[in-house]
């Protein structure tokens, strides 16, 4: 009840950014880069503990992009040249170029490492099958449905491996799920494959879409908790979830991750109260709107400190431990 967590990514420290650049031009070995990724993971776990979060993430120090990382691990996938995402920002888009296969677990080593550093639970983090399809080029499969279901089957194996490795929380992000409401049934079908038979708490993060178009059908997504953004709309999208009643657990976004501004404790408290009014306190976890990797480390933890303070204040008001 009112546990605190984050969505997944944290800003990479300067030394790791530089190392990644050097690695990309073969001036740094895989082993040297990996050692720095582990160092950054140790730091981000310690920082999350210091700030007092309840459920931790490993910080995604080894990942450049939430789809490209998996494309580099799967057979049947390639990576395109640069395409623009906005302004002067570019990314390399995955390509589904052949039948998809998972030759080995993709996230287990870093999950185990991060979990070994703390007694607090660390979430297993994956990108969902619908988003993997939607954010990739496809030159192999005939239909989008085939691509989505192929991703779903191999991500199910990854989820099983995460559970076997001890993950109590497994987050399967689907930020693309609201872009084509007509394909929501396909995304739900795919998530059912991913989470089938999984006892760990399953979470799906969805952002930057029009929730009007997917609510209430999104309640059929077979996960225990939906992780949604609220702060960046000034909580204006809360009303969508009043009717019909929200039936899942909610991870409630209270920090605008695209803003440099540090939200005050008072405004976060106010936001949490608004959320409680709609969702009920017993179903709520509190977190930022999205991953924090676009902020500086100082901004990210200043925001999180205020978030944790705000949650403690609300808990105190409600007489919660």
């Amino acid at each position: 009840m009112l546990d605190t967590t984050t969505v997944g990514s944290f800003p990479k420290p300067d030394y790791l950014q530089k190392a990644r650049t050097q690695h990309s031009v073969s001036k740094l070995s895989d082993a040297e880069l990996h050692e720095l990724e582990l160092q950054a993971t140790r730091e981000v776990i310690r920082q999350q503990e210091e700030v007092g979060l309840d459920i931790l993430v490993h910080g995604e120090m080894e990942r450049g992009d939430m789809t490209t990382y998996f494309a580099e691990k799967l057979l049947g996938m390639g990576i395109s040249d640069l395409v623009r995402s906005y302004g002067n920002r570019y990314y390399r888009k995955p390509i589904v170029a052949d039948a998809l296969q998972r030759p080995a677990p993709m996230t287990i080593e870093m999950f185990k490492y991060a979990q070994s550093l703390t007694v607090k639970p660390v979430k297993g983090m994956l990108t969902g099958p619908y988003t993997m399809c939607d954010w990739s080029f496809n030159t192999h499969y005939e239909t989008r449905r085939e691509v989505v279901l192929a991703f779903a089957r191999l991500l199910h194996d990854e989820v099983k491996d995460l559970q076997s490795a001890g993950a109590k929380y497994i987050q399967i992000d689907e930020p693309a799920i609201s872009t084509r409401p007509e394909e929501l049934p396909l995304a739900i079908e795919a998530m059912a494959i991913v989470t089938e038979g999984i006892a760990a708490k399953t979470i799906s993060h969805i952002c930057y879409g029009d929730f009007h178009t997917i609510y209430p059908l999104i309640l059929d997504l077979p996960v225990d908790q939906l992780d949604l953004e609220f702060a960046n709309s000034g909580y204006a999208n809360l009303d969508i979830f009043r009717t019909p009643r929200f039936t899942k657990e909610i991870a409630f976004g209270v920090l605008d991750i695209h803003s440099h501004r540090i939200e005050t404790v008072e405004e976060i408290v106010s936001g949490i109260r608004k959320g409680i009014d709609v969702f009920g306190v017993e179903k709520m976890t509190i977190d930022p709107d999205c991953g924090l990797k676009t902020r500086t480390t100082e901004e990210a933890f200043a925001k999180l400190r205020n978030m944790v303070t705000a949650v403690r204040q609300v808990k105190s008001e409600l007489g919660l431990p």
């Binding site: 395109s80 040249d81 640069l82 395409v83 623009r84 995402s85 906005y86 302004g87 002067n88 570019y90 888009k93 390509i95 939607d134 954010w135 080029f137 496809n138 030159t139 693309a176 872009t179 084509r180 930057y208 879409g209 960046n232 695209h258």
Partner: protein
């Protein structure tokens, strides 16, 4: 005789290492390593390359590639009174984002935006180049109104701004001017409003005006195409293949432009299948245009170049050249 064209934007970054990299130039400009004039020269050089590549690929009616633009609306808001720029919003169903303009005071045109780029492109091309503007209706829907609170007045002032742009383009010699209206197919009930706005923009000007739809289905608006005082109607026939039938059925009052080459996926179309489609189109509309399904900036440069080579080549072959 069928003719080939492109929809609008083109990848800004080159495949060739020696070519000017606008991303790097913008970074250098941000760090004050180059001045505004050097940056403008870089934009001009990339525009020249983009025009050259289209012409060498056999495209009959090129565009300037919108090399200076981040998206289709914000260039016009930065040179006019009445706007502020806000946070990132997803560009339809793509993993691409734009900064949403907010209307904060009366909209007033200050100076031409598209005409200078047109002049440069026209000089480079030596033949007709298509200028591209946002349609007033989509301009309105892609913005946030915190000033007018009256759709009719807001649309009228946006139409006045665009009419000033059209005046500058016509004075610069533009013969083909395209309005992109990707929002209208999702709000068919507003078609009379959108048509009135477009018609007020073009009234009295002598040019070939285009109206272009991409991403969505035109089924609900196609029967009323006759309400638009434009000469060409263009539609994305890849994202929604039935749009091809809609154009064949309803483009009685205009020349249709069929977006047949997928500008959102790198997979190349089979040229024999394209030629079969051209055959069918030319029986009903021998002077139709064939184009990309939407702007090419969703693709890496090398893939975009392959697409326009295929488009230019297949249309030329179909003409017996």
């Amino acid at each position: 005789m069928l003719k080939s064209t492109v929809t609008g934007n083109y990848p800004k970054l080159p495949t060739q290492k020696g070519d000017i990299n606008i991303r790097r130039m913008l970074h250098r400009f941000d760090k004050a390593e180059i001045n505004r004039q050097e940056l403008e020269q870089a934009f001009d050089a990339v525009t020249a390359r983009v025009i050259r590549e289209q012409l060498e690929s056999g495209i009959d009616l090129p565009t300037d590639g919108q090399i200076r633009w981040d998206d289709i609306v914000t260039p016009f808001t930065s040179q006019a009174d009445g706007f502020e720029i806000n946070g990132l919003i997803r560009w339809f169903d793509n993993n691409v984002y734009y900064r949403k303009p907010t209307v904060v005071s009366d909209i007033k045109w200050q100076k031409p935006v598209a005409a200078n780029a047109y002049r440069l492109a026209s000089t480079q091309s030596g033949k007709a180049v298509k200028a591209v503007l946002p349609a007033p209706y989509s301009f309105m829907k892609l913005s946030e109104d915190s000033h007018y609170h009256n759709q009719g007045r807001l649309l009228a002032d946006l139409a006045a701004l665009l009419r000033a742009e059209v005046g500058a383009l016509v004075a610069a010699g533009a013969e083909h001017i395209q309005f992109d209206d990707p929002c209208l197919q999702y709000h068919a009930e507003d078609l009379p409003l959108a048509a009135e706005a477009i018609n007020s923009v073009v009234k009295g000007f002598h040019a070939t005006f285009w109206l272009c739809f991409y991403f969505g289905s035109i089924e609900k608006i196609a029967p009323d195409f006759g309400m638009f005082d434009v000469s060409v109607i263009a539609a994305d026939c890849v994202s929604v293949p039935t749009n091809c039938e809609q154009l064949l059925r309803f483009a009685h009052h205009q020349i249709p432009c069929f977006g047949m080459t997928d500008a959102r996926n790198i997979k190349l179309e089979q040229d024999d299948i394209l030629r079969q489609k051209y055959e069918r189109i030319s029986l009903l509309f021998p002077d139709a245009y064939i184009s990309t399904s939407c702007g090419l900036e969703f693709l890496p440069h090398a893939n975009a170049l392959e697409k326009i080579k295929l488009l230019g080549c297949t249309v030329k072959q179909f003409r017996g050249e």
